[in-house]
C-alpha cells in the first residue's frame, strides 16, 4: 500500500491499486465511532456516448441512464432491496449521481461488516427486470417533477445551457420524463457491464480502521472480474464560445435568483489544484464577504446575503459559477463586471490576498472534521485525478502573480453568461 501523509492536518491516506484495476483509499480516524464507506464508478450523466471495450461500434444511450442505474442497483434477485437490508442493520445508506460519477455509500456505528457484505454484494450484482425497470420510471418521474419546482436548480441549469453548445453537463442529471421512457433492462445491463468494472471504480473508507485489516476485508468481498480496458467516451466537440450571454425565465419566486457563469478552458492535470485554489482566492477577493463589492451591494440592498461561488471542472469542461438572490440582478451583474475589470487594471491587493489564503487554509483543515466529508472529498478528487492532500500543500506556495495571470485568462468577459429567474 502506498501511504501519503499530510503533516499540517496530521492525517494519512493509504492507497492500494488492485490487479483488477480497483483503487482503494483508506483514511484512518482513530477514536471516531462513525464509519463511512463510499464506492464510486467513474460514470456520470455526461457519459451517454461511448465505445464498449472490445467493440468497434459507438453505443449511444438515452440521457439519464447513469442516474436510473443508481436507483436500480438496490434491487436484488432474491426479491430484497439492499437499501432495506442496510437500513435494517441500522446503517444509513444512500447513493447519488453527478455529471461525472455515481457513488454508493453507507455510514454506521455498529454492524459495519454485515453491512459491508450487503453493500459490496449489491454494487457487484445488478438485477434488472422489465417490471422493476418500469416501476422505477414512476418514482424518477416524481423526482424530476420535484426538481422542476426548484428555481435554484433551474437557474443553475439555464446558466449551463447558455454556456455550452454540446457538452452534456448542461442537461439534467436525471434525464427527462421523455428520455427515461426509452430506458429498458438491456440498456441498463450494457451500461452496468461497461462502467461498473473495477478498473473504472474507486472505494474509499474512513473511520477507526487498521488499514491492512480493512483492505483484506474488502478484497475478500470482491468478485472475480478482470480489468476491462479503457472505455472510450465520446463528447461532442465544444466550441470555446458561449451560446448566449443572457437567459431569463419566469417562475414563482419571492426575489429574483441569478447564476452568473464564466466558461473556462479545462486546466491540464498538473495545474488543476493550483488553478482551483487560485480561482477560490480570486472569487473571495472579488465577491467574498469581506470584499468591497459585496459590502457595497449589501449596504445598498442589492444583495441580501453573500452569493455562493464555485469552480467546477473535469478534463472536458471548466466553469466558474456565482449564484444568489438579488432585488436587482442586472445591477449586481454590472457591478460585478466593473469590479473584475477594475482588478484586472489595478492589480490585486497583497493584504487581501494573504488574508484570504489564511481563510482557505482553515477551510481545507475543517474538511477533515467529519468521516463523511473526508471520504466524499477523496472520492470526488480521485475522479478528477487529484489526491486531496494536494490542496493543503499548494495553498502555502501559491503566489499573487499566478493569481493575476488566472484573473486575466479565465475571467474573460466574452465568456460570461447571466441567468435570471424572476417572478411571473
Amino acid at each position: 500500500m502506498q501511504v501519503i501523509e499530510n503533516l499540517k492536518v496530521k492525517e494519512k491516506a493509504y492507497i492500494e491499486k488492485l490487479k483488477n484495476g480497483l483503487t482503494i483509499i483508506i483514511v484512518p480516524k482513530a477514536g471516531i465511532r462513525k464509519k463511512y464507506v463510499i464506492f464510486g464508478t467513474h460514470y456520470g450523466s455526461n457519459d451517454s456516448k461511448f465505445i464498449v471495450p472490445g467493440e468497434n461500434e459507438v453505443t449511444e444511450v438515452p440521457k439519464g441512464v447513469a442516474h436510473f442505474l443508481e436507483h436500480k442497483m438496490f434491487e436484488q434477485e432474491n426479491g430484497r432491496n439492499s437499501l432495506d437490508v442496510l437500513s435494517s442493520l441500522g446503517v444509513n445508506a444512500n447513493a447519488y449521481t453527478t455529471n461525472t460519477h455515481t457513488a454508493f455509500l453507507y455510514e454506521c456505528t455498529d454492524n459495519f461488516y454485515e453491512a459491508l457484505d450487503e453493500f459490496m454484494d449489491y454494487v457487484q450484482h445488478p438485477y434488472f427486470t422489465d417490471e422493476n425497470v418500469e416501476k422505477e420510471k414512476g418514482i424518477i418521474g416524481q423526482e424530476i417533477m420535484m426538481y422542476d419546482d426548484y428555481p435554484e436548480w433551474k437557474v443553475y441549469l439555464n446558466a449551463l445551457e447558455a454556456m455550452y453548445h454540446n457538452n452534456p453537463v448542461k442537461l439534467d442529471i436525471t434525464g427527462t420524463i421523455e428520455t427515461i421512457s426509452h430506458i429498458d433492462k438491456e440498456i441498463l445491463y450494457k451500461c452496468y457491464n461497461t462502467f461498473y468494472n473495477p478498473s473504472n471504480m474507486c472505494l474509499v473508507v474512513c473511520g477507526d480502521f487498521v488499514p491492512e485489516e480493512i483492505l483484506k476485508e474488502i478484497e475478500k468481498r470482491l468478485i472475480n472480474k478482470n480489468s476491462s480496458g479503457e472505455i472510450k467516451r465520446i463528447y461532442e466537440e465544444e466550441d470555446e464560445s458561449i451560446v448566449k450571454p443572457n437567459i431569463e425565465v419566469k417562475m414563482d419566486v419571492s426575489i429574483p435568483l441569478f447564476t452568473m457563469g464564466i466558461k473556462c478552458k479545462p486546466a491540464n492535470q498538473t495545474q488543476k489544484v493550483k488553478k482551483d485554489i487560485a480561482i477560490s482566492i480570486l472569487l473571495n477577493m472579488i465577491i467574498g464577504e469581506s470584499s468591497t463589492l459585496y459590502q457595497d451591494l449589501y449596504k445598498s440592498g442589492i444583495l441580501l446575503n453573500s452569493p455562493s461561488y464555485e469552480f467546477d471542472f473535469t478534463n472536458e469542461y471548466a466553469h466558474i459559477l456565482i449564484s444568489g438572490s438579488s432585488r436587482n440582478p442586472q445591477e449586481f451583474y454590472n457591478k460585478l463586471n466593473e469590479e473584475i475589470k477594475n482588478l484586472k487594471t489595478n492589480g490585486l491587493d497583497k493584504e487581501n490576498f494573504e488574508r484570504i489564503k489564511k481563510k482557505l487554509y482553515g477551510e481545507y483543515i475543517k474538511e477533515y472534521n467529519d468521516v463523511s466529508d473526508i471520504a466524499r472529498m477523496f472520492l470526488n478528487d480521485f475522479m478528477n485525478g487529484i489526491n486531496s492532500f494536494e490542496y493543503l500543500e499548494e495553498i502555502t506556495s501559491i503566489d499573487i502573480n499566478y493569481l493575476e495571470q488566472v484573473l486575466k485568462n479565465d475571467f474573460d468577459t466574452e465568456k460570461m453568461v447571466f441567468s435570471v429567474i424572476k417572478n411571473s
Binding site: T109, D110, Q142, E143, I365
Partner: protein, 421 residues
Amino acid sequence: MNQGIKIHLINTNKFKTNLIAIFLSTPLERENVTKNAVLSAVLRRGCEEFKDQEEISKELEEIYGADFDCGLDKIGKNHVFKFYIESINDEYLPKKNENLLQKSIDMLAEIVFDPFIQEEKFCKDYVNQEKENIKQIIEGKKDNKSSYSLFRCMEEMYKNEPEGLYKYGYVEDLEKIDEKNLYEYYKKLINECKIDIFVSGKIENADVKRILEENKNIKKLDSRDPIYNKKEFKKKKQLEKENIVNENQEVTQGKLVIGYDVINSENDEFDKNLKYIGMMYNAILGGTANSKLFQNVREKASLAYTANSRYYYNYGNILVMAGIEISNYEKALKIIKEQVEAMEKSDFSDEDISNAKKIIISNIESISDEQDSEIIYFFGQELSEDNISIEQYVEFIKKVNREEIVEFAKKIKINTIYFLK
C-alpha cells in the same frame, strides 16, 4: 458564573476545530418573534470592536477562516438565539501561539453582548436594512415548497398559539420596530433571558474557564432568574372533526402534509418514556427507507419520490409528508391512512422494531462525532432538564416494546390535512 448563565465545556479530541456557542432562550410570543428576528440580524452587523460587517469578516478571515453563524430556532415554546463561532485548533496552524480559542471566544461574546450602539440606539441603517431583509425572508418562505408545506400545516394546527408562529415573524409587525425600541428590547432581553455558553474541542478546562471569567462582556452580565418556558405536559384531545386545508400555488408537484396529534386523556401523567416510544413509532411509520410510508407510498405504489414522517416530540405531533402528482391526492391519502391504521393494529414485524432500534441507536451514537450535534444535544437536555446521558438515551430506546408502540399508535389522531397544489 452568575445565576441564569451557564457554562458547558465539552472535552473532545475528535475534531480539528473548537466550536463555541452562545444560546439565548426566551419565551416564544407573537409580540416578540419579529423583534427577535430583526435583532438577531442587527447583532451580526457590527459590535463595539468590529463596527461593521466588513471588519467582522476580515477578522474572521484573519483567524484562519473562522466561521461565524447566527440563527433563530423554535424549541418547544421558546425562541432561541444561536450564535456560533468555529475556528481551527492551534495544533493545525502553520504558526504557533496564535491563541485562536481566546480570540474566538472574545469575538463571539463581543458580537452578542457588546453591540454597536450610538446614543443609546442601534445603528439606524442596520435596523432599517435588516427589517427589509427579514421582510424578504418572511415573504420568501413560500419558495421552498417542502418546508413551506410543513410550516403551513403546523400553523393550521396551532392557530393563535405560540407553536404555530413563524420563527422570523410577520411583515405587519416590522413597521413598529425602530433603532431605539429595538435597543430597549435588547437590553431587557439580555437581562432576563436564559444564557448558555458552550465550548467544545481539544481544550483545557482551566484555560477556558479563565478566558470566560476574564471576559469583560461576560463579566458584566447580571444574575437573573431567567424567563423562559420550561417543559410542560400539554393535554391534547381528539378533534371532533379534522381540518382540511387546500392551498393553491403554481407547482408541478403537489405536497400533501397530514398533521397528527398525540392525544392523551385528562388523567395521563407526563410519561418520560413517551419521547422514546414516539421515536420508535415514527421510525417504523415513516422515518427510514424501511418504513411503511417509504415502502408503500414510494416503492409499491410508485406515487412519490419523498414520503416520510417526522416526530415533533416537543409539540406532541407527527407530520406525514408526501410529494405527489396532484391527481393522486385521494390515492395517496388512502395509502397513508392505511399505514397509520396498521400501526394501531400492531401490524408490523419484530424485525421492524429491531431495525428501528438499530437506526435510532446508530444516530444517537453518532452525536458525539459531530461537534454541533453534541452541543445541540446537551442544550436540549439543559432546556428540558432531563439530563439524560447519551448512554442512558440508548438504554431508553432499547427498552421500548411492541405494546408501548401500539399503545402510542392508538393516540395518533388526525388534526389537519394540508394540500399544496
